[in-house]
Subunit: 367 residues, 2 copies
């Protein structure tokens, strides 16, 4: 496959699937997409705007956008694509270019837009619901993508050091979050890859806490989950630290999570089932009596989206492959009391993994 | 209607439509929604998390979330709702509570999830595609919502003053954007309501420019489109200023846009067709020979989303109503040269409109 373009690899996959063409883009809000819904389009064409559709087939490389994005498309879209400008209604511009068996992603198409597409589609075109074809190709990151993700992860590492050196006790979760965001941008990221979770004390037991006006006290745990986006690619990392000295129980839970995370990192390599990777961390946590306190999966893929394929959990049927970039993030959450999560971002290799998250994991006591 | 809850008003609307229940929430990615896809749910229930579904009917007030958001739901969701925790799969938790004719929004439901819903739905339940029922109710903002939006707009006004007082010449678009974001947060907003557009010189001719490393030069126009989000409610405002003295042509285009915008503001009142409001600004621009350079609609509704109903354009069939909050934003864009847009946020009243955007519109020359 080396040397073939993304569109060429997609066209080859379409042929395997018996499809003549695939529509790529957001068919939920095609004129005004949520940025996270157009990662497939960005990966395929390079386009980073919020209104575009691509048509790919053996002979087809069409990129459609509306007047607002014509110049951005000229600048960004891979030259193998013919660039066309549609009226605001991208669907109408797309249908005249369809032929044969045309796939659309049923997870990225609303019921309403499928009906519209069916009404507009000319005779002889058959619309076929398919799912996840581009996502499948996106799993295998190339060298450029890995470099960019490593850079995004390195930025997050730097921000952890900066945040902890400044001190946390007496500051609010929200102040720490805003400082981290600002620092991420100052260091050259596009943006944080998601709003940082800064959770102190009992808030750290809420896996998806929104940073609040609560001040960080002494003698409690502080969990920070954050990442940077660089050229559209995300990083994702979590560290839990002690704000002042913590008690033995919190320390024991911390060490249990750290050792479970280390075991999972040891287990990750190409060919391992995602479910088995999850078990590697889950089993020791369950044996210590905390099975019910680890209520999420071990990890998830990361790339243009902060959550993408594969999924590492007991419900996953995927197998890890070379080039996957995934988080490894066991946690233990004691409701109303405290929580610990430790998360690294790694890429899967033939014989193990390469860890992009290099901020230390020994329990750190921060002033 | 005064005094009835949002859920009660929705239940009354369902009865008019011959529906027993409505499913409210994001049925594209119900377990992990994009924040902007769940505004209907937030409006209806108060829930600000990213994983929830509501079922409303004459007798039904059910709110479903997953384990990650149980505590947030306890804190935020209106007490008239029964709160239930589903497994991660919200759809499966919802179907057992469905009965009769059940509406789902076909714009917020993916083809894939409709199929899943059809498979899970018990005998005797009929699924009915409906669209925009909650959005219809969301158009009429109540006094609390108007206060919040006025606050968000006031914050943006303050940020304009702060940005221009600091000076713009020699700074990059991106620096100005990051400063504006930071200032918006410091003043107490949740966040910017969207990434600010900072566009200098020829970039101002791109209606959806992403802020770049380009420095602002002397003698050119600088367009800044930004807003704040307060308690989830958005503001949206654009000002174009002169970075140093500009030439007569740019000044004439500025004055043309300013006068077109003033005419549109005069025309806005309840009962006016959105298309006619658009014409009020479009006609003078077209008469001056710039019809093709005003390539977007006059405005759009703003609330929990920065783009919501109604739409003010030549393609709109909506009529302005009391309580609508809309932007009024004509623009003229001369490709490769410069652009001007002036945008206010207003609420529609019986006899006119109330303008939330109070930053001056006389051409300002900034150092």
């Amino acid at each position: 496959m080396s040397g073939s373009s993304r569109a060429e690899r997609l066209a080859a996959l379409l042929q395997e699937q018996g499809l003549d063409q695939l529509l790529v883009g957001d068919l939920v809000r095609p004129g005004d997409s949520a940025p996270d819904a157009i990662s497939n389009l960005r990966w395929l064409t390079g386009f980073s705007g919020t209104s575009g559709l691509a048509i790919v087939g053996a002979e087809d490389r069409v990129f459609l956008t509306d007047f607002r994005y014509v110049q951005r498309a000229q600048r960004e879209v891979a030259t193998e694509f013919d660039r066309a400008t549609a009226e605001r209604e991208l669907l109408a511009g797309a249908v005249e270019r369809l032929r044969g068996r045309v796939g659309y992603d049923d997870a990225h198409t609303s019921v309403k837009n499928l009906r519209k597409l069916e009404q507009l589609t000319p005779e002889g075109v058959e619309l076929v619901a398919v799912g996840g074809l581009v996502e499948r190709l996106r799993r295998r990151k190339d060298a450029d993508e890995l470099r960019t993700i490593a850079e995004a992860a390195g930025l997050a590492d730097q921000v952890y050091g900066w945040v902890f050196d400044r001190g946390v006790v007496g500051r609010t979760e929200r102040e720490i979050m805003l400082d981290a965001h600002q620092r991420i941008r100052e260091l050259g990221a596009d943006d944080p890859s998601f709003p940082a979770i800064v959770a102190a004390g009992e808030n750290s037991a809420l896996p998806h806490h929104g940073s609040s006006q609560r001040e960080v006290g002494t003698g409690e745990l502080l969990l920070i989950d954050m990442g940077a986006a660089v050229d559209g690619y995300c990083s994702d990392c979590t560290r839990t630290v002690a704000a002042g000295e913590i008690d033995d129980e919190a320390r024991a839970v911390y060490e249990l999570v750290r050792s479970a995370q280390a075991m999972a990192l040891e287990a990750i390599r190409a060919g391992v089932d995602a479910r088995d990777a999850d078990s590697t961390a889950r089993d020791p946590i369950a044996r210590a009596g905390h099975g019910e306190h680890f209520g999420h999966g071990l990890g998830h893929g990361v790339g243009l989206e902060v959550h993408e394929a594969p999924r590492l959990s007991q419900r996953s049927d995927q197998t890890l492959e070379v080039g996957d970039v995934v988080t490894v993030e066991p946690g233990i959450y004691l409701p109303g009391r405290f929580g610990v999560r430790i998360e690294d971002l790694v890429t899967v290799t033939e014989d193990g993994c390469r860890n992009f998250s290099n901020f230390p994991k020994e329990l750190r006591v921060v002033a």
